[in-house]
């Protein structure tokens, strides 16, 4: 009886890991070495062509653009999140829990709908431009979207909670006596921040970096809608390979490259003392 329970209970997780995690990734890895044919399929011929293609200037540019956008987004998220979390942390426990719930709340309306909200705001004839024009602050409507600015606004907006949540969780764990002790010893606010708060929250920070940087590379819909499809990100490139160009092996190779970057970031996160479990603890 006890053995049967153990066997049965471990079946779902085994099947899940095998069929929905391991198999898809192994298959993508396998695909990335195949030769694509002109009909959107592939032939079972081993080739490194897909990986070599990654070093083509066109694609290197896509990599560079994606990382640039992801980098800027991550930095902005950090700059907003640190003060935000520190200020929220000074509130009473009840207010803190309400504010943090309010941070998660927007997730419940789909991120695409919220991105659409930004389109309404940022368009040439959108709300922001209309207001600014009516108040005669500007004479010509600003180009707030269909460019890098639009993409970055959308990315920061969508991913900010993923930086705030882990950072807040590690800031709220700091023993306030450390800060008091530092003040007592005559440390300035800046010293307290850089010498005490940052080192104690470094794993929360890297957790946030991981949760912002990586999705940023893949969120094709934001660059589609707010970038106007002008700027190609890795996400768009992969999407196109799978749905439009139908060059699956090449798409698979880009994905593997992306996984490699992810793996590096995870290693850095682990080195900073981060626990894997905290990554899922939104």
């Amino acid at each position: 009886m006890n053995r049967i329970f153990k066997r049965l209970a471990s079946l779902p997780i085994s099947f899940y890991c095998l069929l929905l995690i391991l198999l898809p990734l192994v298959y993508i890895f396998f695909l990335s070495f195949l030769k694509s044919d002109s009909y959107g399929g592939f032939t079972y011929v081993f080739t490194l062509q897909n990986y070599l293609k990654l070093f083509d200037v066109v694609y290197l540019k896509v990599f560079a653009q994606s990382f640039f956008i992801a980098f800027i987004t991550t930095v902005i998220c950090i700059l907003i999140s640190y003060p935000f979390c520190l200020f929220v942390n000074e509130k009473s426990k009840m207010v803190q829990s309400i504010l943090m719930t309010l941070v998660i709340l927007p997730f419940l309306t789909n991120s695409l709908i919220r991105t659409y909200g930004w389109m309404v705001l940022l368009r040439k004839e959108g709300i922001i431009n209309t207001i600014l024009l009516n108040f005669h602050i500007i004479k010509e409507p600003l180009s707030l979207m269909y460019n890098n600015l639009g993409i970055i606004i959308g990315m920061v907006y969508t991913l900010l909670p993923f930086m705030i949540l882990p950072l807040y969780s590690s800031i709220s764990k700091i023993d306030p006596r450390y800060i008091e002790a530092a003040k007592d010893l005559g440390a300035s606010k800046l010293t307290i921040f850089f010498k005490i708060i940052v080192p104690l929250t470094v794993s929360g920070l890297f957790n946030g970096v991981l949760m912002v940087f990586i999705p940023c590379i893949g969120y094709f819909f934001i660059s589609d809608l707010l970038g106007g499809g002008k700027l190609m990100l890795l996400g768009n490139l992969i999407k196109n390979q799978f749905l439009t160009a139908r060059d699956w092996p090449f798409g698979a190779a880009i994905s593997i490259a992306l996984l490699l970057v992810t793996y590096l970031l995870v290693r850095i996160y682990r080195k900073s003392g981060g626990e894997m479990d905290d990554l899922g603890g939104l």
């Binding site: 153990k6 935000f84 705001l121 709300i127 209309t130 900010l160 990554l279």
Partner: protein, 262 residues
């Protein structure tokens, strides 16, 4: 004092940023104008239009089905698995524990295309089934982590006590462990539900033509022209989730108060 005002202002600005696009949608759902530019007058018309917009409602229904079913499945599997991984040793466990973090850390787009590839490999028709399966795939690890955090705090002797009193493995799990996991299960389920509602990327690759969900429907509408009844629907979803959240927060606040008293 001035410091405090500045700090509160900063907090307010961040929330203003987070809620601005949502606010816009809510306000314009009551706008008489078809264009989302200037507020011309108050009307409920778009709500009426919404209830006649079959395809939008259908998309909403599909979204709810996908989110609810995938949350239910991933909560059940995730809870059981968290316990199994915590309690037992079996062949392949070490590998499984490592694999579980993959859906959390890898870019959603990679998970999306790799699931799409094996569905094609297995000759599964894309549709509601593959969509739900994909949502289950990315939610399970979150449920497991959430349940695990409660599991590790349970008194390990409790399980021994149950066995000692004649409980078999199933009864230990069902009568003793499971009731004590409820807080972890609820937060895991909420997480799964939230992630499922929010998802665009994975749905984009794994939904078939017949299974239009809200994000996909809106994605295509944005390209062909969006109507304010979408605003109305967004508003309804927002009010509905706010309602649930307020219920949960009230419960949580009661708990904080109770703990403060003890």
């Amino acid at each position: 004092m001035q410091h405090k005002i500045l700090k509160n202002l900063f907090i307010f600005l961040v929330f203003f940023f987070l809620y601005l696009p949502i606010l816009v949608l809510v306000v314009f759902s009551f706008n008489t104008s078809r264009m989302n530019i200037v507020f011309e007058g108050f009307t409920f018309d778009w709500y009426k239009v919404l209830f006649e917009n079959r395809s939008l409602l259908e998309a909403f229904k599909n979204t709810m089905i996908v989110s609810l079913v995938s949350t239910l499945c991933s909560t059940i599997v995730g809870t059981l698995s968290a316990y199994v991984l915590h309690r037992y040793n079996f062949f392949g466990k070490k590998l499984i524990v490592k694999l579980l973090y993959i859906p959390i850390v890898i870019p959603e787009i990679v998970l999306g295309i790799s699931l799409l590839s094996i569905y094609t490999l297995m000759k599964l028709d894309l549709g509601m089934f593959t969509l739900i399966l994909s949502h289950i795939a990315f939610s399970i690890p979150y449920v497991i982590i959430s349940v695990k955090s409660v599991l590790t705090q349970l008194n390990p002797q409790m399980e021994d006590a149950a066995k000692d009193l004649g409980a078999n493995a199933f009864h230990v799990f069902w009568n003793v462990i499971l009731p004590n996991l409820v807080p972890g299960i609820i937060s895991g389920a909420m997480l799964a539900f939230t992630l499922s509602l929010d998802d665009v990327v994975i749905s984009y690759f794994t939904a078939g033509p017949g299974s239009n969900t809200l994000p996909l429907k809106i994605y295509s509408m944005i390209k062909t022209g969006i109507t304010p009844d979408v605003n109305a629907l967004s508003t309804i979803i927002l009010v509905f989730t706010l309602f649930i959240l307020i219920l949960v927060s009230i419960k949580q606040m009661r708990k904080i108060k109770k703990e403060a008293r003890v």
